[in-house]
Symmetry: C2
Subunit: 135 residues, 2 copies
DNA sequence: CTATCTGTTATAGTACACATATAACAGTTA
DNA sequence: TAACTGTTATATGTGTACTATAACAGATAG
C-alpha cells in the first residue's frame, strides 16, 4: 500500500498515516496478518521523522488495529473479531456522537432530516461498495 | 441561553462556544434577530478571556451565523436563507466528507452499511426532533 | 454633540501539541 | 551473536490556544 502525506493541511502527519492505514483495513487492501513497513523505513519513504510514524503505530496498536511482534515488526490485527469489546462499544458511541454533531451542523443551516440521511446513504453506498482484496 | 465550558477537554474553548451557539441556532433556541451577549460580558460569565470569545464570534461571523451592528453588538443572522450560497455548498461537501470518514472508521471495525445507517438514522431522529422556540 | 459600549486589532507572555533530531534500550530473530 | 524491531528519553524549533493589557473606529444612547 502507498501512503501519501499532505504537508500543507492542518491534519497532523501522524493522523494522516493512521487514517490511511485504517482506510486500507476497511477496504481490505490490508488483511489480518499482513506486515506493515518498519517505522524507520516508512519514515524514510514518506520523508518524515521516525517518531511521527511511531506515534501513528502506537495509536493503531492502542486501537487494536495492529499488533507488534518484537523484531518482526507490526502486523495487521483481526480487529473485526472484537466487535463486542468495550473498546468497540466506545468506538460506536463516538461515531454516534459525531454523527449527531454533523446533523446539528446541517440543521443549523436549514438542512432537513431527509437531506442528512440522503447524504449519509450516498456516502455509505460509496464507502461500503469498496472491497479490495489484493493490491 | 446558557453556555457551559469544559476546561478539561481537548476541544478548544472558542470552538465549544461556537458549537453551542450553532446548536442553539439549530434547535431554534436562538432565532434570527436575537441578540448575543457582548464578548466582554460573556467572557466574564464564562470565566475566560475576551479574545477567546471574540475568536468564536469572528468564526460565527465568517460562517454567516451572526452579523455585527456596531455598538449594538452581535445578532443571530438568517443563515437558513442562504441555502444556495457557495459557502453553503462547501458546508454540505464538508459534511459529506466527514460522513464518509465515519463510515470508513466503522467499516474498518467490521461494521456494515446497515449498521452505519441505523446509527445515522437514530441520531438524525434525535437531532431533528428538537425544536425549541422560546428559552 | 458626547460619552459609552460594541467588535476589532496590536503586542506580549505562557502553555501545550506537533515534528524534528540524536541517542540508547529491551526483545526478537536471522 | 549480530542485526533489526518497536520503544523510550532528552532536546530543539514551530505553531496554536489562551491569557493579559492596551488602544482603535464605528454605532448609539442620553
Amino acid at each position: 500500500m502507498i501512503l501519501s502525506i499532505d504537508f500543507d493541511t492542518q491534519e497532523p502527519i501522524y493522523r494522516q498515516i493512521r487514517s490511511q492505514i485504517v482506510s486500507a483495513v476497511a477496504s481490505g487492501e490490508l488483511a489480518p496478518g499482513d506486515p506493515l513497513p518498519s517505522v524507520r523505513s516508512l519514515a524514510g519513504d514518506l520523508g518524515v521523522n521516525m517518531h511521527t510514524v511511531n506515534k501513528a503505530y502506537a495509536m493503531l496498536r492502542d486501537e487494536g488495529y495492529v499488533t507488534m511482534r518484537g523484531r518482526s515488526g507490526a502486523y495487521v490485527a483481526d480487529v473485526k473479531r472484537s466487535a463486542s469489546t468495550a473498546r468497540a462499544q466506545e468506538h460506536r458511541e463516538q461515531i454516534a456522537t459525531e454523527l449527531a454533531r454533523l446533523a446539528t451542523e446541517l440543521k443549523a443551516r436549514g438542512g432537513t432530516r431527509e437531506e442528512f440521511l440522503a447524504i449519509a446513504t450516498a456516502q455509505a453506498d460509496h464507502v461500503f461498495s469498496q472491497n479490495k482484496e489484493g493490491e
